[in-house]
Symmetry: C2
Subunit: 321 residues, 2 copies
């Protein structure tokens, strides 16, 4: 029997990552384009088609050899109406029928999915949570999001909008969030929040290695500089990360108490800081969650990196087709 | 074909509510006993058997006419080991194999379930959320709990401990909770929290109708007095309820953002205060949740009252048998 082949695309605000893969979730070839995020849906849809052509040109396969295509992107997918309602990273994408548009252009069946959901499925099937039934994938980078695998399947909620973990309020008197509330997890524990806390403290004259690290980075200060400074023993950077980690821990404890997951997988740029960042989160769960729920939960670093979304889409396509 | 009959028991800290019912969830006869909650598991297990005998004695049926029995109780059920790990309302109940113990005594197959899960299923099948797939049942009384119906089924998590909504932190600098954290929803929005806020304010000399209402209630002040005073226009009582409602609203918005439920059903003693209590919660969801998730969510008062748990167990038994 001929191997079933698929293309899977991760449409991000900065890059389009396109792979050729099989039903076992193995990546056979890949292509990366820089996203024309400011040029609107038509330009990006053209890029998606070109990325598939460029990918296939690297191989001995053509569109006719493919069973189906999958695409994941950040944003709100309306699961009933099959629309990408809104994407925070792509200008002008409102209520785009992404599956229909791509099907028309590629001549293939297309499945679309929220990127955190796709990454969660990838990690649950072939990554850090392989074999688990109830898994929460938490991504901590510029923003904070989550994908829920409950009972072995992606849980999307009634209309497709589940997983907005970044907008869980954990500090009721905190900063105003883009969503209109105060103290959402994203305002205290995201990469953006870590960078803001560092800038604020430096403006108040705190002595820190961050001044030098920012100078070396063309005056720009981001979460990577804060992690680097903490690694060098900088007190301020350590305090800022402890604060972010405290609130992320609170949010995770809330998740454990509410959903009693078997596994929490933490991914995203901030999570790349490794065990130093993850260990306090494990301790928060052990110390503060309902004891039997804490005892049945394991927290792990993500394993699939930037490929989690496309691997998740390959798994979804194989399970569906 | 003969109608299938079941007994369902709601084992509470103050009363044991036992019903005879059919596969459609209809209650044909009922019995109420006062729980000997301080006498330990053996005494209560005997009571459960007696309650079934007393119930059947009211009817023309015997144990032989029953297909199975169901029981729900507050507490942590270990779903894999089939144990009631701990119950907050029953002294000495630790790691009790409730299904086995009752099967041995009744000679019937027995299913046991957390009471909020059972009530959620009852409301989802035959109550305020009849026909819905993704429903969250929130109970607000002495404490705060939740039962989750996701994709049409009870969601228990990996080991059975999901639904601890009362221990979601909503006020990071709040009161210390029994669980060891600060500012859990239960510390600011439960019946206990409402009564405590009232007592504290009165001790600080605030002028209020509550003084008189407490005197009329043998000096005792509970949530019912606060609701009654607010109804009479008392400013302090109104402030206390607005505060509780604000934090409960925050917790519900977190639920909506995370799980995108179709329906939230609010039950429990405090919810009996009716629309005056529920309307601000609806407004919180509309104002503060992610707009598409808010738009797809309806909040309703529970419909089945104290029968929700046993009706849920009747539905579970019918679906299983």
């Amino acid at each position: 029997m001929k191997e079933k082949l698929y293309v899977a695309i991760d449409l991000g605000g900065t890059k389009i990552y396109t792979v050729l893969g099989n039903g076992e979730g193995s990546i056979l070839a890949e292509e990366i384009f820089a996203t024309k995020a400011h040029d609107g849906p038509q330009a990006v849809l053209e890029q998606l088609v070109l990325s598939v052509s460029a990918l296939l040109a690297k191989t001995s396969y053509g569109l006719n050899d493919l069973q189906a295509a999958g695409i994941c992107a950040a944003g709100f997918f309306d699961w009933q109406k099959r629309l990408l309602v809104h994407s925070p990273n792509l200008s002008g994408w409102n209520n785009v029928p992404l599956e229909l548009e791509l099907t028309a252009r590629l001549g293939l069946p297309v499945l679309a999915e929220n990127d955190a959901n796709a990454a969660a499925l990838g990690e649950a099937r072939l990554g850090a949570g392989a074999g688990s039934g109830d898994l929460i994938f938490v991504t901590v980078s510029t923003g904070i999001g989550a994908g829920l695998i409950l009972g072995g399947h992606i849980y999307r909620g009634t209309a497709g909008f589940a997983g907005e973990f970044g907008h869980m309020v954990v500090k009721s008197d905190g900063y105003l969030c883009g969503c209109g509330r105060r103290g959402c997890l994203e305002t205290v524990a995201s990469g953006t929040a870590i960078a803001r806390a560092a800038s604020t403290a430096m403006q108040m004259g705190r002595e820190t290695l961050l001044t030098q690290l920012a100078e070396e980075n063309e005056g720009k200060l981001g979460a990577p500089q804060v992690f680097a400074a903490a690694e060098l023993g900088d007190v301020l950077a350590g305090e800022i990360l402890a604060d972010a980690s405290y609130y992320l821990g609170l949010g995770l404890v809330n998740l454990v108490n509410l959903l009693n997951p078997e596994i929490i997988v933490v991914g995203g740029g901030v999570a790349n800081a490794g065990d130093k960042f993850l260990q306090p989160l494990r301790e928060a769960i052990a110390d503060k969650a309902i004891p039997p729920a804490a005892a049945s939960c394991t927290l792990r670093a993500a394993k699939l990196g930037m490929a989690a979304g496309v691997i998740g889409m390959l798994c979804r396509l194989a399970e569906q087709n």
